[in-house]
Every structure is written in C-alpha cells, then in structure tokens.
C-alpha cells in the first residue's frame, strides 16, 4: 500500500467518526431541558400554536425518525433555522466563517514562524543561555491567558501605535491583514510554547541519531544539516502537537474573537448560547467538531507525506 493508500484509508476512517459526531450533537439537543417549540412561540402562545410548531418541526416524531431526518438535512447542508432571526443556520455560519478561517490560518502561520526558529535554536543551544531565555519566554507565554494577552496587545500596541484597529474585521485585503494580526498573535503566543517545547525535544532526539553522525562525517554542517537532515525528521511530533493545540485553540477563538470584537464563529457561538438559540448552537458545535476532525486529518496526511516510512506502518 502506497502513501496514497494511507491517505485514502485515513479519509475512510473519518466517515464513521463524522456520523458519531452528528449523533452526539443531535443527542445533546435532545436531552437539553426545555421545549424548543415553547422557545419559538413564546410563553403567551396558546396550546394550539405550540402544537402547530411541534408538528412543523416534527418534534412529535420518534427520536430515531428525527435523527434520520437530521442526518439527511445535515448531509444536504441544512442545519435548521435560527430561533432568533429565522435565518438558516448555514447562512449565519457562512457569514462568519471567513473571519475565523483567517484567524486560525494566520494564527497557525505565526505559530510556525515563531516556533520553528526558537525550537531549532533551543535544541542546538541546549542548556545554554539562548535555550534558557527561550524556555523562560515560553513559560511567560504559557502563563498568560489569551483574553489577557489580547487586552495587553490592544492597550500596548494597537492603541498607542494606531497601526492596528482595536476591533472589528476589515473589508479589503490589507485591512483584513491589519485587523487579524493582533488576534493571530494572541493565538500564536498561547500555542507557541507547546510547539517550541515539542520541537526542541524532537530535534534533540534526532540530533543523537546515527544518521546525523553520517551526515556530519561527509561534511554536512550548520544550516544545511538542520534543513536537510534534522527538520523533516523532527517535524512529525511537532505537527501532531500543533494539531492538538489547534483543536483547543478553536475553542480559544471564542475568547479571542470576543476580546477583539471579531464577527467570527466564536463570537457567534457566544451570542447563540446566550440567546438560547439551540439550532445555531447545534450548528456551531457541529462545525467546530468537524474542524477538529479536519485539522487532525490534515496533520496525519502531512506527517505521512513527510515520512516515507508511514506506508509500511499503516
């Protein structure tokens, strides 16, 4: 089985996982106390109105029937209608997903740009001054909760310099970049310490392997040794860590988007939860779970591409 075989197998494995996620999201809504119909029609509505809405939404059908209908709808991209605005949930999500994709994408990019050089320096200067400084910085980064980091960046960078907007998301490309930079940095400060630590450990163990001795013996040294012999071999564990970290940070986006007043999915989830808009909450939850699955999938595939041996272990 080649590497494409591995990717295909990994893709197939996610299908049952997706059904499981849909089932859990569906069940969570089922066991949530409160009557959705009552939520929609309001407290003063008559019993007849209530019954009408129940029938319209199929709430009287057996749970299994409702589940099958829900899965069918989800597969067609129909996530139901918001109790609040009456708009389709998929449309609400569509309006917000852009911002969150920007946030996560630039957050990952900044994390990599910060972590790779610092991880490499920490490993190559192990137990020396530079390593201690990097580890110290990592500890500081770890100790700062994202909402606090965000506020500090706003107060110390955005407002004094005026280079970055204090909130909101721009319309044009340069404005988007400017408005996403500080939120992405906040995200990167939270995630980089883990990645730096993981990468450092993984590089240190790679540096001890015999093929590094081989490379040295034929005169490969310095940056060439790192680029051609060290990085690709130590990237695997760091990428897996990054994926796990991104899974957490997706939910961290809720906090960061609120701090920077970004109209993204995180902010949308907060608003929906506060308004008890269950179909929207359900839609966001499903999407976030899906995103985690996709991030893990992508990380597995990237790892497989980087390591030619994966095909025999799969």
């Amino acid at each position: 089985m080649g590497r494409f075989g591995f990717v295909a197998k990994r893709l197939l494995q996610t299908i049952p996982m997706l059904f499981g996620i849909v089932l859990i999201v569906f069940l969570v809504l089922q066991i949530t106390p409160g009557d959705p119909a009552r939520q929609i029609v309001g407290l003063r509505a008559s019993e007849a109105e209530l019954q009408e809405v129940r029938e319209e939404l199929g709430l009287d059908d057996p749970v299994l029937v409702q589940y099958v209908r829900y899965v069918g709808n989800v597969l067609q991209g129909d996530l139901g209608y918001s109790y609040k605005s009456r708009k389709p949930v998929s449309e609400i999500i569509g309006e917000r997903i852009d911002v969150t994709l920007w946030l996560m994408g630039s957050g990952i990019l900044l994390t990599v740009l910060i972590s790779v050089p610092l991880g490499v320096i920490g490993a190559l200067r192990k137990d020396r001054a530079a390593d201690h400084v990097i580890r110290g910085l990592g500890l500081v980064g770890l100790s700062m909760p994202p909402f606090w980091t965000g506020v500090i960046l706003l107060l110390l960078v955005a407002i004094p310099t005026g280079w970055f907007p204090a909130g909101g998301f721009g319309e044009t490309f340069p404005d988007k970049v400017r408005s996403i930079f500080l939120p992405a940095l906040t995200l990167a400060i939270a995630s980089s310490p883990f990645i730096i630590r993981g990468l450092r450990a993984s590089i240190i163990s790679v540096m001890e392997s015999e093929y590094i001795s081989t490379a040295r013996s034929i005169g490969v040294a310095g940056g060439r040794l790192v680029r051609r012999f060290v990085l690709r071999n130590s990237a695997g564990p760091a990428i897996t860590l990054l994926a796990i970290e991104m899974g957490y940070l997706l939910f961290g986006a809720v906090v960061i988007e609120t701090t920077f007043a970004l109209p993204g999915l995180g902010q949308g989830l907060v608003l929906a939860a506060r308004g008890r808009d269950l179909p929207s909450v359900q839609g966001y939850t499903l999407l976030f779970a899906l995103a985690v699955v996709v991030v893990y999938l992508v990380s597995d595939i990237v790892t497989a591409i980087l390591d030619p041996r994966v095909e025999i272990e799969a």
């Binding site: 001890e208 392997s209 015999e210 093929y211 001795s213 081989t214 490379a215 040295r216 013996s217 034929i218 005169g219 490969v220 040294a221 060439r224 051609r228 012999f229 690709r232 071999n233 980087l306 390591d307 030619p308 041996r309 025999i312």
Partner: protein, 326 residues
C-alpha cells in the same frame, strides 16, 4: 612524504556522570600507514568503537577526549587536526547498522549526492549523476532506479552499499569501518568485505576496521591491534598474530572462534566477564581472567614492548603462552 597517514598518541576518552569519571579508552596509541588496512579487535566495551569515533570526532557531546591526533592530507607530514576539519575531507566512516545510519527521510541518491554537492560544488543535476556513478561503483544494480528509493525500501546489503557510496563520495584517503558487516547475513557479509577489499585496492585508501570478529579482520587487514579494557594489548601483522599470539587475551580470543576442525575441547569461551570501565582491575587488566597470570601481573605497568620487528605486546610473560592448538 611521511609513511603515516594517521597517528594517534595517548588517546583518552572519558565520560563524567554523577561525579564519577569513567575512561573507557585509556591511553591508546596507534598509527596507520598509507594504503594499509589496520584491524582493531576486541570484545564489546573494549573501547574499539570509541577509539574509531574519536578519530573522526563523532563522539557524543558529553565525552571528553584527550590525546594527540595527527592526520596527513595530500602527502604531507601528519599534523594535528580538529575533527571538523576531516569531515568530508580525507576521512570517512561507515557504521554497523545501515538502517539507522541512513537518513530515513532522504532518498538514497540525494544522500550520496550531498558529498559532491558540498565539496566539489556540483549542481544538483551533476551531483545526481555522480551519485549514480558511485552507486554503480559499489555494485548496486540498476542504480538510476534505486537512487530514487528511500532507505527502508532497500535490503540490508544494499543499504550498506549505499552507506559505502556515501562515505566514498567525499573521496577519502582513510576509511573507518565500525563493524560494517556485523548486522548483515553471512553471505552478504562476504560480499561487503569483498567490495571493501576491492575498493581499497582500486582507490588506494587506508582502512581502519573495527570488529569483534577475527575471521573478518583476517580477511581484510594487514595489521592487527588487539584491544582489551580500553587499551591496546598487542599489535602485529595479521598472519604473525594469528600464528603466534603474544598476549594471552589474543590467544583466548582465537580459541573462542569456532572452526570446522576444532573439537569441543579446543573451542573455549573466555572465563569471567569483560572488565567494567567503572572499576578496571589494577595492573594488567586481563590478569583476573588470564590462565597464566602471576602476582607481578596484578601490579604491572601497562606498556607496549617490542617483541620482534613490527610486533608489540603488553604482556610481561609472553613466553608462557602455549599457542593455539589446532
């Protein structure tokens, strides 16, 4: 022009951990002449591998190396060198386990092309052609196709040939071999030994070959150095050492090698265990396991003395050795 290409004087390799210092290589001196193949024999833990790695500076970072190492590049007198000076310039090494010695995420052709790219400034394409040539030279069939393969896709024997090609890519005048056949099947061992012998002849390289296997050393080497407990205990031309060992440890090593016509009585292990570098015995370090040992041995100062032309031993009673009964 000096005859010697490599000179090692009083080499000591030590490690310090938890306040305790161990010295697994304790005063090794050796020299290699041009075109010569020197074999270093000894049990695991005798310090033979560490000696080899200190010559090319590939010891772990926590090792301390003391001693005078000199290497002669381009027909000059041997001069002191820093290990990084010889990386890719003059000295190459091949390892025991070719799977772990090859970069798992690099196509083997690209690995072999590294040397020519760095040292001869060849561009990617020219270096690739050179790599395929080298692969052909070390007897890899269909080198163009195999250059595109990953190490895990090759057999053990082919991997070791790739390792040899990578070592040769820098055109070394001294090739260090760290038990390169030990991890291979017996039939493949012979092929690799034959290849090394052939390359040594055609390229005029000097070789230092470390092994615990006397038969392997006998096939390839001109001269032998026997190591025990971090020291060299005997040196001499291979044939003479085999015919008439001048150190009881050499004799014991030889009687522990099985052969077709040896009876069970003649085939003996060596009693006792290899010495622990944390607590080497005083005097001759082999004395506790030596069938001829006398009281003086336990306080004897280690010194290699000439026995005859080209032969030295550290044993103070070489005349007691009865020789190998075969």
């Amino acid at each position: 022009m000096s005859e010697h290409i490599l000179e090692v004087r009083d080499l000591e390799v030590s490690f310090t951990a938890h306040g305790q210092t161990v010295t697994p290589v304790d005063g090794v001196s050796l020299s290699v002449t041009r075109g010569e193949a020197l074999g270093i024999a000894g049990e695991s833990g005798s310090g033979k591998s560490l000696t080899l790695k200190s010559i090319i500076g590939l010891l772990p970072p926590n090792a301390t190396v003391v001693g005078d190492l000199r290497y002669a590049l381009d027909d000059e007198e041997p001069i002191p060198y820093a290990p990084a000076d010889v990386h890719g310039h003059g000295i190459s090494i091949i390892f025991q386990e070719p799977m772990t010695a090859l970069n798992p995420t690099m196509r083997v052709g690209d690995l072999i092309a590294e040397g020519p790219r760095i040292h001869h400034g060849l561009d990617k394409k020219a270096a690739r052609v050179k790599a395929v040539d080298l692969m052909r030279q070390v007897g890899i069939p269909t080198p163009e196709r195999r250059a595109r393969m990953w190490p895990h896709q090759l057999s053990g024997g082919l991997r070791q040939r790739v390792m040899i090609a990578a070592a040769l890519s820098t055109e070394p005048s001294l090739l260090l071999c760290d038990e390169p056949t030990t991890a291979l099947d017996v039939s493949i061992q012979d092929q690799i030994l034959g290849l090394l012998q052939e390359l040594r002849g055609s390229l005029g390289m000097s070789v230092v070959f470390v092994s615990h296997d006397l038969a392997v050393l006998g096939e390839l080497c001109d001269r032998l150095a026997i190591m025990y407990g971090g020291r060299i205990v005997e040196t001499g031309p291979v044939d003479e050492v085999f015919a008439d060992p001048q150190h009881p440890y050499t004799e014991a090593l030889m009687t522990s090698v099985p052969s077709f016509d040896a009876t069970a009585e003649q085939l003996r292990g060596i009693d006792g265990r290899p010495p622990d570098p944390r607590a080497f015995p005083p005097g001759c370090r082999f004395a506790p396991r030596c069938q001829y040992a006398r009281d003086e041995c336990r306080s004897a100062v280690h010194e290699l003395r000439d026995v005859s032309a080209g032969r030295t031993t550290a044993c103070i009673y070489p005349e007691l050795i009865q020789g190998v009964k075969r």
